[in-house]
């Protein structure tokens, strides 16, 4: 492959070494902190970085052991030992060395690893090892009977905001079905998203609540109080005619879903009698309203 290397041991200030710009190796926060703590405890590095002394630039580049070098600086070491190569190293060989040091690392036999680790009696030595009992699956598996009280029965509703296209809508709904469990899923146009967010936000702000379902309930209650305004969906007030065919919700005519029970009883009796007398067909009780209204309008005229 290339000429043999003749590395030598060198001692110096780790701050004078140049760390790699691009390094595929990285450490989790907790691993790096452990390394720093270990080096601080030891007062020295216990394994050596590999450094290439680039005599052309005067830089000593750490090919392997970058985290160790950084941790030594972090731990406050003034001097460390490293293994130094002084022969010219083409870029290709630098990268090959770096990758080889990362990739050719050997493997642990789990049983032997556990056995060796179990020999560590002192907690601080276990911490030093960088391993832990949970990772090595050494903790007892125990069952703890639950003492939790029953929770409220909730219904979950998912609203999915969708773009126009039918195909996209169907795909999005399918994705939503897979992504989250809900008792119901409602579809709405994406343009309505901002409006819903603002409505919920205003409702939450007004009532000092954070819960989305509670805000939704209040919003629905407001709609309930303004049912009459929904007549816009089928009625032209200027022409005083229906703007479309089909049926219209009675509550948008009456602007309420309920009425006082005494008054309801009078209406009930009247419609029952009309049905019995054949003034209206069975199953078409709404006709009573139409007849009364027509009579009223005729009288008024």
């Amino acid at each position: 492959m290339s000429d043999p290397l003749k590395p030598r041991m060198v001692e110096g200030d780790p701050r004078e070494l140049t760390l790699l710009d691009i390094n595929a190796r990285f450490m989790r926060h907790e691993q790096f902190q452990r390394l720093v703590a270990n080096i601080r405890d030891d007062g020295a590095l216990t394994s050596t970085p590999l450094v290439w002394n680039d005599t052309e630039t005067g830089r000593r580049i750490v090919l392997s052991g970058n985290h160790r070098t950084k941790a030594a600086i972090e731990a406050g070491l003034e001097r460390i030992w490293w293994m130094e190569i002084v022969e010219p190293l083409p870029r290709q060989r630098q990268i090959a060395l770096q990758l080889a040091h990362n990739a050719i690392t050997g493997e642990d036999d789990p049983a032997t690893l556990k056995a060796l680790y179990e020999e560590l009696e002192d907690v601080s030595m276990r911490l030093y090892s960088g391993l832990d009992d949970k990772t090595l699956e050494l903790l007892d598996e125990i069952t703890v009977p639950s003492l939790a009280e029953a929770n409220l029965d909730f219904a979950t509703v998912q609203i999915v905001f969708l773009p126009d296209e039918k195909e996209t809508a169907e795909k999005a709904l399918e994705a939503a079905r897979k992504a989250a469990s809900a008792d119901a899923r409602w579809l709405a146009h994406i343009a309505q998203y901002e409006g819903v967010l603002d409505t919920l936000d205003t409702t939450k702000g007004a009532h000092n609540i954070g819960n989305v379902a509670a805000a939704f309930a209040i919003t629905l209650a407001i709609v309930e109080r303004h049912l009459g305004e929904l007549a816009e969906g089928w009625y032209d007030p200027d022409e005083q005619t229906a703007t479309r065919k089909g049926t219209a919700p009675i509550e948008t005519v009456l602007a309420t879903r309920t009425m006082p029970a005494d008054a309801a009883a009078v209406v009930q009796r009247a419609i029952d009698r009309m049905e019995r007398d054949g003034d209206i067909e069975t199953g078409q009780r709404w006709r009573a309203l139409e007849l009364w209204a027509a009579d009223y309008l005729a009288g008024a005229a």
Binding site: R34, V123, L138, E149, A150, L197
Partner: protein
């Protein structure tokens, strides 16, 4: 609804320690029982279990599992609001179920005019027959049995009722008054023979340590170091980098540790590298927590303790990762999302790539994604920088410095709080602005 339960990994350690006492003892005494985690861990260990606590919640559980009647009734002054519960209180499992369920909803009593609390109260009232029946059924099938329960101060219990040779296990509450606030609503509405007891302050904890550690078999869980017990340190459990480590001191010569271990997932998208030109389309991609942990481990300062964000996003230009940022759910102002972390990839040819990540975080697209994840309108962003300088060069010019304080972290001089409006530009506009103001490469004139 009990807070402050013993973590699962600690339970395993307690179980392992206690089982070594087989043949040497027949009884185990558990102090500061809380929600009886220790007892539930040891329920099938073959030992007779004895417990002690001072709270109503714990005493109700303790009495029940010790086979006693529960002397708990509704206070006369709460009868108007809670009289409907009386038929459910049978002095045994029925009463315990009322206490357990009450620990959830009593806190909302008197707040029925509030839209959320009112709805929750109404739901509890409406569903109570089923909730109560389910809870009673659960209680009655629990295999836990206690040999005794003492509603009294743990130090008094150790001095007066626990034999000197008997094994003791205790994980006292971490902070004085930990549970009083948690269960205040129960005490407000339920009458019971509450014991008098001193607060478990540092002095009382010292007494507790002394009364436990002078016996042959013991396990003690503490969230602080005890120098004189150093040789008895047998475990340390910390499961999150920002979590509190708990020390386990024990008479048993068996060491166990559990350390934080961020779960990583690979991010396969390419990263911007030196010499590479930035493309023309800035975009965002949601990251899993494992993917975010990977990028954070690679590119963020190793001295910053990782937190857990609500959502994390990668910042890409033409599909190449240039950085990442993460938001946390607002804590105080519901419209103000917290920027938990933001960092660029390194090294690159661009000096101010960190600002491009901020442009992305302040975009309407980031705002949309955050609002979608958090189900609320988000209009502002805030963040904190710990630095040695009185201003953060990364945030200067893009965010507004709201306050400058001395750092609580000894590694830094200043704690700087920054804020900004959210959704200030689209990603395309943000990239264009960054290019014109900050897009110079290394070596190019500023």
């Amino acid at each position: 609804m009990f807070h402050g339960s013993i973590p699962a990994d600690l339970r395993a350690i307690i179980h392992e320690h206690a089982t070594t006492w087989r043949g040497q003892a027949e009884d185990i005494y558990a102090g500061c029982s809380g929600n009886f985690t220790i007892e539930r861990v040891l329920h099938d260990s073959g030992f007779r279990l004895h417990s002690c606590d001072v709270q109503l919640y714990s005493s109700a559980i303790g009495w029940y599992f010790a086979g006693q009647e529960l002397p708990i009734t509704i206070r006369p002054e709460s009868a108007d609001e809670l009289g409907w519960l009386a038929p459910y209180m049978d002095g045994r499992a029925g009463t315990l179920a009322v206490v357990l369920l009450g620990s959830r909803f009593f806190q909302w009593l008197g707040r029925g005019d509030h839209p959320y609390y009112g709805r929750m109260l109404a739901a509890y009232r409406q569903q109570f027959p089923q909730l109560h029946a389910k809870t009673v059924a659960k209680i009655e099938t629990l295999p836990l049995r206690l040999a005794s329960y003492a509603p009294m101060d743990v130090n008094q219990w150790l001095a007066e009722q626990v034999p000197a040779e008997a094994p003791v296990v205790a994980f006292p509450p971490f902070y004085a008054g930990d549970y009083e606030g948690q269960f205040a609503a129960l005490d407000k509405h339920l009458d019971w023979p509450a014991p008098e007891y001193p607060t478990l302050d540092d002095a009382a904890k010292q007494t507790l340590v002394e009364r436990i550690t002078d016996r042959p078999h013991w396990v003690l869980g503490l969230h602080f170091d005890v120098e004189e017990l150093r040789e008895h340190l047998r475990g340390q459990v910390q499961t999150a980098n920002r979590g509190l480590p708990i020390n386990v001191y024990a008479s048993v010569p068996r060491s166990r540790i559990v350390r934080p271990n961020q779960r990583l997932e690979s991010v396969r998208a390419p990263r911007l590298v030196p010499g590479q030109e930035l493309g023309g389309t800035l975009s965002l991609a949601p990251l899993s927590m494992g993917q975010f942990a990977t990028l954070r481990s690679q590119y963020m300062n190793h001295n910053i303790r990782p937190g857990t964000p609500t959502m994390a996003l990668a910042v890409l230009v033409d599909g190449v990762v240039v950085g990442a940022f993460a938001f946390s759910t607002p804590k105080y102002d519901p419209h103000n999302v917290y920027l938990l972390s933001d960092f660029p990839v390194t090294p690159t040819s661009y000096r101010r790539l960190a600002k491009l990540v901020l442009y992305a975080a302040l975009s309407t697209e980031a705002q949309f994604l955050a609002q979608r994840a958090m189900n609320t309108r988000l209009t502002r962003l805030n963040t904190t920088a710990f630095t040695q300088r009185p201003v953060s060069m990364k945030y200067r010019g893009l965010l507004r410095l709201n306050s400058r304080k001395d750092s609580t972290d000894p590694a830094y001089r200043y704690q700087l709080d920054y804020g900004s409006e959210l959704g200030r530009w689209s990603l395309a506009e943000g990239l264009a602005q960054w290019r014109s103001k900050h897009g110079q490469k290394e070596g190019e004139p500023r």
